[in-house]
């Protein structure tokens, strides 16, 4: 296991595998940061239920653009240009959950509640990681992601208070996003994930992070009076 801490000035001395994996994980992270706004800005900014919600959609997008900027900076400093993801078609996003378009307020609320939470897990993988410039940008980004999760949770609760028909619409959104959230953690036993861990770039195996996520989310869903979807149904990455 690699346990050193690396600064930008040390990067050139690193093993090619380390350089490749760091460039790859930063590119995927940048794609996920900008992938969110590409999913919801077009339809949800005009269609959010109140003017204040419209402004919060814009503020959330602003924060995600800023997260992209910070990740792009860390990548750019090691010579990795991630700007191509700014105009990447949604269908070509690295992570399946960011392909498509959010067209309903239920999906937007549940996206914040479930998918931004996976985003927090992805960022937590870099806590105490071997590349210090990446570690340094995390606190502010994670704090803002927590705000997105809370907003998504509150909006989901608000929808649930509006009766059975609305509850079914929320459940449908949960059924869709829950399995996509689980897929975001990647394949169980992934050999690449093992190399990330070897180089100190990630902390947990994919399956362990997914399991931790389910242990956190499932009791919340139960408390909200929602059904926990079958964790195997519709999954693409097992």
């Amino acid at each position: 296991m690699f346990t050193d801490k690396i600064e930008l000035k040390d990067f050139d001395k690193m093993d090619p595998e380390y350089k490749d994996l760091l460039g790859r994980v930063l590119t995927i992270q940048a794609d996920c940061e900008i992938g969110g706004p590409h999913l919801y800005v077009e339809k949800m900014l005009p269609a959010a239920p109140t003017k204040l919600d419209q402004l919060i959609v814009a503020r959330t997008a602003a924060e995600e653009v800023d997260h992209f900027r910070k990740v792009a900076r860390v990548a750019g400093d090691i010579g990795v240009d991630v700007s191509f993801v700014l105009n990447q078609a949604n269908e070509k996003r690295f992570v399946d959950a960011f392909r498509g378009l959010i067209t309903t307020w239920e999906d937007n609320a549940v996206f914040g509640f479930l998918i931004d939470r996976v985003g927090r897990y992805q960022l937590e993988e870099f806590y105490d990681c071997s590349y210090l410039p990446l570690q340094r940008i995390l606190p502010d980004i994670v704090t803002e992601e927590l705000g997105h999760i809370e907003y998504g949770y509150n909006k989901t609760m608000e929808l649930l208070s509006k009766g059975d028909e609305q509850k079914e619409r929320v459940q449908k959104a949960i059924d869709n996003w829950y399995v996509r959230a689980l897929d975001m953690f990647g394949h169980t036993g992934s050999s690449r994930a093992e190399r990330y861990r070897y180089w100190g770039l990630k902390r947990r195996a994919n399956e362990q992070a997914r399991d931790d996520y389910m242990k956190e989310v499932n009791p919340i869903l139960e408390k909200m009076g929602l059904r926990i979807p079958d964790p195997l149904k519709g999954r693409r990455y097992m």
């Binding site: 590409h38 419209q54 402004l55 814009a58």
Partner: protein
């Protein structure tokens, strides 16, 4: 030291300005919650800024 990506300084600066403009518009709207017209203008400003970001025309932004 590694060779940085050629556009990183300009891109960073541009996006920082975009983010500041968006936060400014949101703040303007949110602090006038009893003035629908001010809020509408702020939302429209956000929409215009975000539309440009969503097109992702990086070379146009940086030249």
């Amino acid at each position: 030291m590694p060779q940085p990506a050629h556009n990183i300084e300009k891109l960073d600066e541009h996006l920082l300005q975009v983010v500041r403009a968006l936060h400014g518009a949101v703040k303007q709207g949110a602090s006038h919650s009893n003035e629908p017209k001010v809020m509408d203008n702020a939302i429209q400003d956000c929409k215009e800024i975000l539309d440009e970001i969503m097109t992702g025309n990086v070379s146009e932004w940086l030249n």
